[in-house]
């Protein structure tokens, strides 16, 4: 369960203030896979970090119960100078997971081979996301927070991710951010449209994508 109560979130830029959420009270639908849509800079990743609890709102309250993953994204929570295995052990320790079991699972799932013993800074972004995925799958979460990294890797790896999520779908759900509408369609039961300051939930994912498309087209000339 996750609920926003009067949440206000903004960023201080050099010369202005960027408002991400303005006095939002919102209850996220439970046990549903949610695809988050929003134009660039609307604050999708920030929203995910607020849900995870890695960032705090300026004011208001976020009420959370259950086990949420850290935001699985490219910027990541891996320490660049530690090896893959060292990062894995760190995550196991803070989540209280069994190091041996997780290591075995991740070694098999991530297809990193010997690279798992190399520092993260030598990884490609695809390798990082493979490690993040495998690791988060090995530790059981109620909700997986996925920031853009869905749909990385080759088709074989994508199929594996899909299968792993499917296996977990009884107990777990996903809240995901993606620029790839096919991925959103693939995984989401409902869509959450972030329209600058507001949140709208749409039961019909296709319709939400349409609305999102019209938003991006409107903002495209301004961006250019």
């Amino acid at each position: 369960m996750i609920e926003f109560r009067n949440v206000y979130k903004s960023y201080k830029l050099k010369n202005s203030h960027k408002i991400i959420l303005k006095d939002i009270s919102f209850k996220f639908p439970e046990k549903k896979n949610i695809g988050v849509l929003g134009v660039n800079g609307a604050g999708k990743s920030t929203l995910l970090r607020l849900i995870a609890g890695t960032e705090f709102p300026d004011s208001g309250k976020i009420i959370r119960s259950g086990h949420y993953s850290w935001p699985l994204g490219f910027s990541g929570s891996f320490h660049p100078t530690l090896t893959g295995i060292e990062n894995l052990r760190f995550a196991c320790r803070i989540y209280g997971a069994d190091i041996k079991e997780v290591t075995e699972y991740v070694e098999a799932f991530s297809e990193l081979g010997r690279f798992i013993h190399e520092p993260i800074k030598t990884y490609s972004s695809g390798m990082r996301s493979r490690l993040a995925f495998a690791l988060s799958m090995a530790i059981d979460f109620d909700v997986y927070l996925v920031d853009e990294i869905m749909g990385v890797g080759d088709k074989g790896f994508q199929d594996k991710c899909r299968a792993a999520f499917k296996e977990k779908s009884e107990k777990s759900s996903i809240i995901m951010v993606s620029h790839d509408m096919n991925t959103i369609r693939d995984y989401s039961d409902v869509a959450l449209l972030l329209t600058g300051e507001h949140l709208e939930i749409h039961e019909d994912v296709d319709k939400a994508i349409e609305m999102y498309n019209s938003l991006t087209h409107k903002s495209a000339p301004a961006a250019a």
């Binding site: 995870a52 609890g53 890695t54 960032e55 705090f56 949420y68 850290w70 935001p71 910027s75 990541g76 929570s77 891996f78 320490h79 660049p80 100078t81 530690l82 060292e86 052990r89 760190f90 995550a91 320790r93 803070i94 209280g96």
Partner: protein
């Protein structure tokens, strides 16, 4: 119930961070722990050389080495903890991507690692001195431990204040290092307070580290009981600095987490 759970998570995070810090400091290269031993050794050797050349008598006890050691350990506890706390977020920024890792956990783990390192280094050097034939008798262990406890809290407080200032003014790190250098010579590492003239002592007696070094040595030596150090003053200053440090940490905590 919630508090117990939160403490449980925090202790897991802190112990994971200590392991990570230990590994990155001492695990990847053999030089890590060597450096921990070399740093105090370099101070001791330098002062021994200078004082032998000046043929100055040992201020307290029968070994110049032990005398410098009992000054340099409290000093390094202070200055190394300040440095470690100041650079804590920088060295672990990415790990703040896990929701349960808080900046204060990084601070706590670094303080524990620094303190443990220097206590081990101190014991190591004492063993070396005993093997070299010097007689070492500890007068008042409790007094020494109290001084160590206070200097750790003082270092943590200054470190947290510095970290907060550095957060807004990154160049502050250089200013602090220039500003703190004179304190090395004002902290009684190579002299005792009664060696100084009253006028000179008056100028530097605000320095809490000087009080702590005298306190530590009074506990260590049977033959030395300083009348200079003021426990009340030292604890008051330390508490004020530590509380300001905690408030500074609190004020910057939210922003520090924004990656």
């Amino acid at each position: 119930m919630e508090l117990i759970q939160a403490l449980n998570v925090q202790s897991r995070v802190v112990s994971a961070l200590i392991l990570r810090e230990t590994r990155s400091r001492y695990g990847n290269s053999k030089l890590g722990f060597f450096w921990a031993l070399f740093e105090p050794f370099a101070h001791i050797a330098t002062f021994m050389l200078i004082f032998t050349a000046m043929s100055r008598a040992v201020p307290v006890g029968d070994s110049m080495g032990v005398f410098i050691l009992t000054g340099i350990i409290p000093w390094l506890l202070f200055s190394n903890i300040v440095t470690a706390v100041m650079g804590g977020i920088e060295g672990n920024q990415s790990l703040l991507g896990y929701p349960q890792v808080m900046p204060i956990d990084i601070t706590i783990s670094r303080i524990i690692l620094e303190a443990a390192t220097l206590v081990i280094v101190f014991v190591f050097f004492l063993i070396v001195f005993v093997n070299l034939g010097f007689k070492i008798e500890i007068d008042d262990m409790l007094s020494m431990l109290s001084a160590v406890g206070v200097v750790i809290i003082l270092g943590a407080g200054v470190g947290m204040i510095n970290a907060a200032i550095k957060f807004y003014y990154p160049s502050y790190a250089n200013i602090y290092s220039a500003f703190s250098r004179p304190f090395y010579f004002m902290s009684g590492i190579f002299f005792t307070a009664d060696f100084l003239s009253p006028e000179l002592l008056k100028l530097i007696d605000f320095n809490p580290v000087l009080h702590i070094v005298e306190w530590f040595r009074s506990g260590f030596y049977t033959s030395f009981n300083s009348t200079f150090y003021d426990v009340g003053y030292t604890i008051t200053v330390t508490s004020v600095i530590f509380v300001i440090g905690l408030m500074a940490e609190r004020a910057t905590r939210k922003r520090a987490r924004q990656i």
